[in-house]
């Protein structure tokens, strides 16, 4: 085994290729989003595309660095890395800088670094490490509790930084637990509950309760009518009804006003296009005006003239939609989906449980970011400010996602060395 040659020989070039493609697409679209006839020099550090260029160069160095680190380092130091980032997350609450309402930034030189972005990677490592430990079985209550704590600890701290979006991302790791053997009811609940919540805001409560009763009745009729099953059905039914009736309260009392507005906008109950609905409406206008072929690179009027807020970060997908049209934006969706599937299939071929679970974590987090971000620009998901991986402007998120992915690529390149 000749190590020197094998590193670049054994790494998964499909993943690297997808990564590079996304980063390049990201840079081009950031250039388009902030493009100004008067300032169009490609390397101009006063402009976002100039900075992003530096972020990208740094990210590529980071990726290469990751590829030469001993792969065992990450599994052995998983808990240590996790612990380090938990501490940093706590520190940032006290010593951090506040940027756009969230206190999650360390100021390093001229740049802000957001530990929360890196915490996702660290949590993936820790969760994979824990789940790959001998004798750990997620079907056991104790394991489930510990796994949940690993996931929820950073989420709670991030929530304290008022960064709801980043906090929600951690829940994506349920996919890892599901793959590890967690009962399918839990992820199902994570899909069903939001749907039920939305329905409870749209339909009268009593009608919804009646529908739930009917569903419970059907389950009862088709069940074997053992006491245990009946109890489960009854508990689920009562829980659902309780959830339905508590949604209003939660929305009105627990959520912050802007979050509440975003939900109303999504449900079409708030049509104030100047207020809460402005972003999404402008986003849809930009994407919709791209038609099939798009307006062409740098030709997007909505993009160029700043009609869409947060254009280079959270709403970067609008630039793609407007300038590259249906063709370009569908290709981007296909590119992302290919990435997720590729990561998943690569994870499945791992001999090490750690690598496999870590791979699942990578896929889950990337997928969740993509689904929320693109869904938001398309008006399918409430406005939650999280970046589109590799494409959105920003150093922290690019570096964190690069690390996240390349640690996995490094693990994968090493799979044949495991006996």
């Amino acid at each position: 085994m000749r190590e020197e040659r094998s590193i670049f020989y054994k790494i998964d070039w499909v993943l690297v290729g997808l990564y590079l493609a996304l980063v390049l697409i990201g840079w081009l679209n950031i250039y388009a989003a902030v493009y100004d006839e008067n300032y169009n020099h490609i390397i101009d550090l006063s402009q976002k595309y100039g900075k992003q260029m530096i972020f990208i160069v740094a990210a590529l160095l980071l990726a290469m660095g990751t590829l030469i680190i001993d792969p065992k380092f990450f599994s052995q130091f998983a808990y240590f890395i996790y612990g380090t980032f938990l501490i940093m997350l706590i520190l940032v609450i006290f010593g951090g800088r506040e940027i756009s309402g969230s206190k999650g930034w360390f100021a390093i030189g001229g740049f802000g670094v957001q530990p929360a972005e890196f915490a996702k990677m660290a949590t993936c490592l820790a969760l994979a490490k824990y789940l790959s430990t001998l004798d750990v079985d997620i079907r056991r209550f104790r394991t489930l509790i510990i796994a949940s704590v690993i996931i929820l600890a950073p989420a709670v701290i991030v929530l304290l930084q008022h960064d709801t979006g980043s906090a929600i991302v951690f829940f994506a790791l349920i996919i890892v637990l599901y793959r590890a053997g967690l009962t399918g009811f839990v992820p199902l609940a994570f899909i069903v509950l939001p749907v039920l919540g939305i329905l409870s805001l749209l339909l009268p409560k009593m009608i919804l309760a009646a529908i739930l009763l009917a569903v419970a009745g059907i389950f009862y009729l088709y069940s074997n009518r053992k006491i245990r099953v009946i109890i489960i059905i009854a508990v689920v039914f009562i829980g659902s009804v309780g959830f339905v009736f508590s949604v209003d309260y939660s929305v009105n009392n627990i959520l912050e006003p802007h979050q509440r507005n975003r939900i109303h906008v999504l449900l079409g109950q708030d049509t104030d296009l100047k207020g809460a609905g402005y972003n999404v409406n402008q986003s849809l206008i930009a994407i919709g005006s791209g038609k099939f072929f798009g307006k062409g690179f740098l030709q997007g009027t909505q993009t160029k003239y700043n009609f869409v807020p947060e254009q280079s970060t959270d709403f970067i997908f609008c630039t793609v939609g407007e300038e590259q049209g249906f063709l370009g934006s569908s290709l981007l969706v296909i590119l992302y989906t290919s990435l997720f599937v590729r990561v998943l299939l690569t994870a499945e071929r791992q001999r090490s449980r750690f690598s496999r679970f870590y791979g699942y974590g990578v896929a889950s987090i990337l997928f969740f970011h993509f689904a929320i971000n693109v869904g938001m620009t398309l008006g399918l998901v409430p406005v939650i400010g999280i970046p589109l991986p590799f494409v959105s402007y920003g150093g922290s998120s690019l570096w964190a996602f690069t690390l996240l992915l390349f640690i996995f690529i490094r693990q994968d390149s090493y799979r044949y060395d495991l006996i």
């Binding site: 079985d137 996919i175 599901y178 793959r179 590890a180 053997g181 409406n281 402008q282 849809l284 206008i285 930009a286 994407i287 919709g288 005006s289 791209g290 038609k291 099939f292 009027t301 909505q302 160029k304 003239y305 700043n306 009609f307 939609g321 407007e322 049209g325 249906f326 934006s329 569908s330 969706v333 296909i334 992302y336 989906t337 997720f340 599937v341 998943l344 299939l345 499945e348 449980r353 496999r356 896929a363 997928f367 689904a371 693109v374 869904g375 398309l378 399918l380």
Partner: protein, 621 residues
């Protein structure tokens, strides 16, 4: 152990794929299926700036500028861009209250949140300067320059007409006009709207989210430049018009003068009138309401073309011409006048004292009622082979070819038909074949159902001076170039009476002035031919009517004057016509006494200057 769950990868992969497909489907819907987003995108960035062309100017026949343009400024608003403005300050700037401000903004929003609407129309130049300095504080508001019509002389209001914002009905029907656009509403402004208005242009500008101009859309590929309106040269003589309006002060009625050889209208006076500058700019609404509300003077009513009168004795000229053409009389035909024409049922059409019997020239000169009743009767009963009905329709044909009973087709809106009754009308009134010449005898002396507009009356004078033909009277002699001809009015129209029959009638008309019913209104060294008329009417005292032309040969002006409820034709209409002719032919008026008598005569309030022996010359016609 997790090998047990390795099948779950399929569920997860399917989940990823389902979300991917869902998003592509959503993209398909948003980008391909619906159009509203691209429309909104255009609304976001594109600003359509209308380029208003300058409206065409109007000159009079001597080249004097009558109507021109002056810059005015409209305050426009794009409701979507109005951001919690300092309402009070803006209200104060344009002098409205807060409620009015809210209402106007709402109205503008109802039209379109994206397109500019007029917020305050026609700000004066001084206010504009003041406003422009402050306008940066009020996003969503901008000023667009427009042009206002201005009138050099405060005359010919009815003829020149006015412009105003196109009504919602017009906007709905037309593809050219948008709310706030100006359109000719009356007079020349209306009838020559498409020539005067020019063609609007459109500039498409691109703006950013702060409504800052970012340049033209696609290098101006879709921009169009405006084309200025075409100038008009009216046949109107501004001096004559002004003089006529002065003479008609405090009288109801009209003066129409035509150049017979061309059909060009030299003046149209309709009194009472108003100053055309009253209906300009943002004072228009208020003044228009005021003028409209005046039900006594009805200043907006253009009597010259919209009122029809019984022509009275002036109509006897037509009897004389048609009678000759039909062969029922010659110039030598004499009828005795026994002080009236007996209708056979004990009733008599009375006549005033004069020598008898008279020939045709003499009958015109003294305006004998009996004579022309008999002529009319002879026309209707001429041929025993024809029924009364058929003869009447034959007579009616002459009337139509004289330009009576139907619109002449002048180039001003609102012209009236006048009225020449049909046989069917009398059938309906009296029963079929239950009427004969005697039933309708009053038509012979220009009374009864007959109605003729002052323009038709003046045109009749033109026909006689031309000996049988006319051009449709028109007010615009040239379009675009001063020495061109208005091609719509180059067709000669014949009246159906042979030229040879006119000399005797003209002779009679000359005698009217030299020694007949209008002998007091001779003009030195000018042979004027005229005919008085005194029209009985149901509205009060008789209308004073006079038609005339001069000089007798190589005629320059044909005129009709109607002074409502002023008595004999010789009393008011004839002197006014005479003064007008003098003014037009000689450039100035020497008979200052007569002029002052006419100007200061207030028929409306019944006040005239002391008689001074003048009325003894006024003869009944």
């Amino acid at each position: 152990m997790e090998r047990l769950y390795s099948d779950r990868k399929y569920i997860i992969i399917v989940f990823f794929l389902v979300i991917g497909l869902l998003y592509i489907a959503r993209l398909f819907y948003v980008q391909i299926l619906v159009d509203k987003y691209i429309l909104s995108a255009n609304n976001n960035v594109l600003r359509y700036m209308t380029q208003y062309p300058a409206r065409g100017l109007v000159f009079d026949r001597k080249g004097k500028l009558l109507v021109y343009n002056e810059a005015a400024y409209d305050l426009m608003v794009i409701p979507r861009q109005v951001k919690s403005p300092d309402t009070a300050a803006l209200c104060e700037l344009i002098g409205i209250d807060r409620q009015e401000f809210t209402d106007r903004l709402k109205r503008a929003r109802n039209y379109s949140p994206y397109r500019p609407s007029i917020f305050e129309a026609q700000i004066t130049r001084e206010n504009y300067g003041f406003l422009e300095e402050k306008l940066f504080r009020f996003p969503g508001f901008f000023v667009q320059s427009r042009t206002l019509r201005k009138y050099t002389y405060p005359v010919a209001a009815h003829t020149l007409g006015y412009i105003g914002e196109a009504s919602p009905e017009v906007v709905a029907k037309s593809s050219y006009y948008r709310p706030g656009d100006y359109i000719g509403i009356s007079g020349i402004e209306k009838s020559y709207e498409e020539i005067l208005r020019g063609k609007k242009g459109m500039k498409i500008r691109v703006v950013d989210v702060f409504n800052r101009d970012k340049g033209s859309f696609q290098e101006g590929k879709y921009d169009t430049t405006s084309i200025a309106g075409t100038d008009l040269y009216a046949s109107l003589d501004a001096d004559l018009q002004a003089y006529g309006e002065m003479l008609m002060v405090n009288k109801k009625g009209s003066i129409v003068a035509i150049e017979p050889q061309t059909g060009e209208i030299l003046c149209i006076v309709s009194s009472p009138s108003y100053n055309p500058n009253l209906l300009v700019g943002n004072i228009r609404k208020k003044n228009y309401g005021m003028l409209l509300a005046d039900s006594v003077l009805v200043p907006l009513f253009n009597r010259a073309e919209m009122a029809s009168y019984p022509p009275g004795s002036t109509f006897k000229l037509v009897d004389a011409l048609v009678g000759q053409q039909e062969g029922v009389i010659t110039s030598d035909t004499r009828y005795a006048c026994g002080g009236g024409f007996s209708l056979g049922n004990g009733k008599v059409v009375a006549c005033h004292p004069h020598p008898s019997p008279l020939d045709l020239v003499g009958a015109i000169q003294v305006s004998c009622n009996t004579y022309f009743c008999r002529v009319f009767r002879a026309i209707i009963d001429k041929k025993s082979a024809l029924s009364v009905r058929q003869s009447f329709e034959g007579w009616r044909k002459y009337m139509l070819s004289f330009g009576f009973g139907r619109k002449l087709g002048i180039d001003l809106p609102g012209e009236l038909n006048g009225n020449i009754p049909t046989a069917a009308y009398y059938d309906k009134y009296h029963g079929r074949d239950r009427w004969k010449s005697m039933t309708i005898i009053s038509l012979g002396i220009g009374q009864g159902e007959i109605g003729i507009t002052p323009i038709q009356l003046a045109n009749m004078a033109a026909i006689i001076s031309n000996r049988g033909w006319f051009y449709t009277p028109h007010i615009v002699r040239a379009i675009g170039k001063r020495d061109s001809l208005n091609q719509a009015f180059v067709q000669k129209r014949a009246c159906g009476v042979d030229p040879k029959y006119f000399d005797v009638v003209i002779e009679g008309m000359a005698n009217v002035v030299t020694g007949g019913t209008a002998r007091a209104v001779q003009i030195d060294s000018v042979t004027m031919c005229g005919k008085t008329g005194t029209a009985q009417n149901p509205h009060g005292k008789n209308h004073s009517i006079f038609i005339a032309f001069a000089p007798r040969e190589n005629t320059k002006i044909a005129i009709s004057v109607v002074v409502e409820n002023a008595g004999f034709g010789a009393a008011w209409a004839a002197p006014i016509a005479s003064l007008m002719i003098e003014k037009y032919l000689k450039g100035k008026v020497t008979r200052k006494d007569l002029e002052e008598w006419m100007i200061r005569g207030d028929i409306i309030h019944g006040i005239t200057l002391p008689d001074a022996g003048r009325t003894e010359h006024i003869l009944q016609d």
